[in-house]
Point group: D2
């Protein structure tokens, strides 16, 4: 030790696994094991100790290799599971975590590349996307060719159309404040579309003059609104039969080269069930099918994986902020 | 009803509360109550029914008022709690929810206004802020005068300094990938700062050449790093004693005109306990003290409120995305 | 102060709100406000200070009243919201929280009382109830007369029948371990029921010899299995049409005197939408309809409330443990 | 197909991975891939199709083996990751999930076995354990020899002592209701213990006559209360210095043969950092150290693992219910 509490460069930093150090030809197991410490020589053996408690002159184990090649061997089998080899103790190994950084640059690049190749991107959206003002950003992605099909439920369309007609979602203003008589507004929005006859007719008549449904209709992007037992209304065009809705959705999933699933456990898992882990649309060769799942909690992403969609890449964040930041990166990536 | 399944404009949309309708001078309670429906006249009374199940010619209750003035009375007391008056049934009344939109415009404006007035903004940061690449954005806020003090723990500084020296946090690259030998890197970073003697010395020597701690030191923004039992190291300058750390933090909280608490339950609640709900720094008059709490889940914000910091405004999102979007809005707001 | 760091009994414990203390006929606002402290007299005024920092002989403000009647006035309006009166600063005011104790005694008593009165209890169940071995406990509630109708989806029945036939749910054993070829077992279970013709026929033939569906069929408790786009199969008897499923469910909700919603966001909110906040089945008088929502997170309960089912009482726990503990209390309550 | 929508026993159930079927000596990749379906022969190849859409007489692929030995080969490498072999597609593979059943039988057995062998069980407790009425159950474990050391913070002791003196925690009654003047009660409890001089003195004097701290003191079970910046008071005996607190805790962790970490991220991770993944207290051989982490969300358990405590077995449930059910199983296991 060069000084009290200061280790030499190249010290061995412990893990919590059984660790053997070769001293005078014998492999010794230090006492008092724990991670994030140094191994120090004592008259009668070795001790694991916090760096701050070591003093100048203490002899500590040196090296990075954990496979015994430099005199330190970390026993992983049976403690990390049999399949692990040396140097496999690590932090941050959860695949899905709010602490894991999102590589928006790479994500934006993938979307741009898919558009360039003529890919087929499916977007699955939950109502949080509309509640939380990501509506304008989603509209932007639709108008700019990044959405080849939208699979969603009645609620997404209802909130979007309530916003188009009344400027609210479930009676809440776009700054998050309740409005007077707000609890009936989604019913009034549905009623006006029913009177118009269809969403398409309501777009044509000018009743729906902005938002997601307006963009889908005017850009001729196909969508499936699958009915559920939670539906108010439902809106004209919603597919009541769960079997027919599945069949309609599958005609899109078989074409998919990528999928973005945002803020909907029900629809994400439904579409995940239909999506292969690969596609053969680029020259017939099985290619991994990009599947991004965005949710506020790790749970939905892990549930999606636990239902077999193991290939899903999880982004744990708020739908509004995701859409905002992703658009920013895609705009930047397409300008350059 | 103008048509099958289409209601007249101005129909009464039901809630789930006891609702009395005046018919021929008598107040009747309809059968089969539920929310989001219409009230239809039947030969022997009134029925609550889904709009889709009504037919042309059905007579439905009309009006928006729920206080009896237009013939419909909704009984809230005893069902919504005694303090509620008519027209108080509503959706989206949770104060803290991932579904509630964040008004970044207003938030940015508040920060800009505090800077203009010479306010004292305290930032409380958890390590997720560094893990998740919000590091550069936080640096920007420090360099641009929006941070008058940072209150945090050892881990924020450790991760930030590991990033400055090795480009990783807990051995994870800034795109979220593990690195070889990564589990020891935070220990090596701490060791190098201990060798340098202090964080300030390590900044001066060029060991720490970027990031949050670098910005704080070079911009002379005060900070308190409070020790905890989770600490590795700790870094020189961390206040080991929880009592001394509280006293050090409090010298900043008494000056605060605003506080932004991000991604740390421990530090947010600690600082929340010290923060008054008001301050008197603008002309001596008690003024509400802006308190923003950002976390991935509603739980931390509600816990903060449950510990008495009722004034906290909750933003339920990912720390990385929050910093990114907030900076974007503040930059926009200061350019105009 | 009787001793250093020890306050006299009856000291005034501060909140974070503006607090005025009457000294020599004048109302003074102490400096350095924060909660959980004492107010101490200084030569030139008053100071809020941590008890540990006070010394014997210091003069501190005494009293509990916050309305000025004993010389201390806490200003709530404008800081706690206009509707609050004095003495309203409090901790733990969130309605829904994992930290709030569940009163199982009271809950058990309510269920027993409903059964005694001939009430109609609706249970809404998500698949977590089956995964997590609460299956046997749910069966117990059905066999003992606490379930008058079950509203659920295809998945609950699929998992329950997979468990009856193969002893697994989604290929996972009842101790949580994967089984070989497990991913196909739910499909094989569905196929066998389809071959049998119906769930009822499969119970009669002995294919389904235990579990929730077996108990419902043999006890003649009605159930609705509403289809969704996530469904595998679906099983015979699942109502494919979301509109027909709603209509079928509503025939039960109009009879409800109570509802227990467990581990299903979709079905809980769907049924919540249909449930009135009251019922008139006991002598025609509107009585609050007991609505209990059990989920692992506060989010689902708050979402249910945000969709209008404000009367829901939230229990934030694991479905398996909830069923186990509730059964224990109900058994205890019925034996005495 | 024996009938429309009914598959033959032993059909091949698809995953979402590239799957090749040997037909007339050639390996064919079916079109329209997805999981949970059958593979059906078409004139010009093979198709993946939902069982409900198949009809009597359709020829479907049969078999369970995915390694090509029975004519079906599932390509996992590159899609499930290189380390996977055939038959590895599965559901429910997340290690930590609220959906994974808790094997209380096994857990109880482990605790009983550790007691029998004279093991050293460390319990780490967060304040939720006291809030939520698990207090009596924890007391039971202490009095019955299952707790050899408790590591916690000031708050656990404060809530427990408030409950002993006033019957409340943070002013909330044990049925979850607020009490008048409740926000000051924890400060009054702390003050009375400070007046008594120590927790031990307060137990001796009868001020603290029940609960966790009473049981620890009277049963002579050692405990460490580590200070933190969130502390009110703190109570006498709390170790203010984070470094001294670590050193005090470590004297217990080096003796540990097992650890139960409940409802505390801070303390669980702190103790996790100190705990080796093994111990040598039973005959000197490295044996895995049982580490159970109980929390309301998957996040805390995964964070603990991400900080290196990979051996932690996660139980995702409410602390109150966990303690209640575990005690029930341990009582049952010790009676037999």
């Amino acid at each position: 030790m060069p000084a009290d509490g200061v280790l030499p460069e190249g010290f061995f930093s412990t893990s919590n696994l059984p660790t053997y150090v070769r001293v005078n030809g014998r492999w010794l197991l230090p006492t008092r094991p724990r991670m994030d410490c140094a191994i120090v020589r004592r008259t009668n053996g070795l001790e694991v100790r916090e760096p701050r408690r070591l003093t100048a002159g203490d002899q500590v184990a040196m090296g990075l290799a954990e496979d015994g090649s430099e005199g330190i061997y970390v026993h992983t089998a049976g403690f990390l599971g049999g399949a692990h080899s040396a140097n496999e103790f690590r932090f941050m190994s959860s695949e899905v975590s709010r602490e894991r950084p999102v590589n928006y640059d790479e994500l934006a690049e993938r979307l741009i590349e898919e558009r360039r190749q003529g890919g087929f991107l499916i977007w699955v959206a939950g109502p949080a996307l509309v509640h939380s003002r990501a509506r304008g950003d989603f509209e932007w992605f639709i108008r700019n060719g990044f959405v080849q099909a939208m699979l969603a439920g009645n609620a997404v369309a209802v909130h979007d159309i309530e916003a188009a007609i009344f400027g609210t979602t479930l009676g809440m203003s776009n700054t998050g404040r309740p409005t007077d008589g707000g609890h009936g507004l989604h019913m009034r929005a549905i009623n006006q579309v029913r009177a118009a006859g269809s969403i398409e007719a309501a777009v044509k008549s000018g009743l729906i003059a902005s938002g997601i449904m307006h963009a889908l209709v005017t850009e001729r992007v196909p969508f499936v609104l699958a009915g559920s037992i939670r539906d108010d209304g439902p809106l004209p065009g919603v597919v009541h039969s769960s079997i027919e809705a599945q069949d309609a959705m599958r005609e899109h999933t078989v074409k998919a080269t990528g999928a973005v699933l945002i803020a909907s456990a029900l629809h994400a898992i439904a579409v995940g069930n239909m999506l292969p882990a690969y596609h053969t649309h680029y020259e017939g060769v099985p290619t991994p099918l990009m599947t991004v799942c965005v949710d506020q909690t790790e749970f939905v992403v892990n549930k999606l994986k636990d239902r077999g969609t193991h290939q899903a890449f999880g982004v744990v964040t708020n739908a509004q902020d995701f859409m905002h930041v992703l658009r920013f990166y895609v705009e930047k990536g397409t300008q350059s």
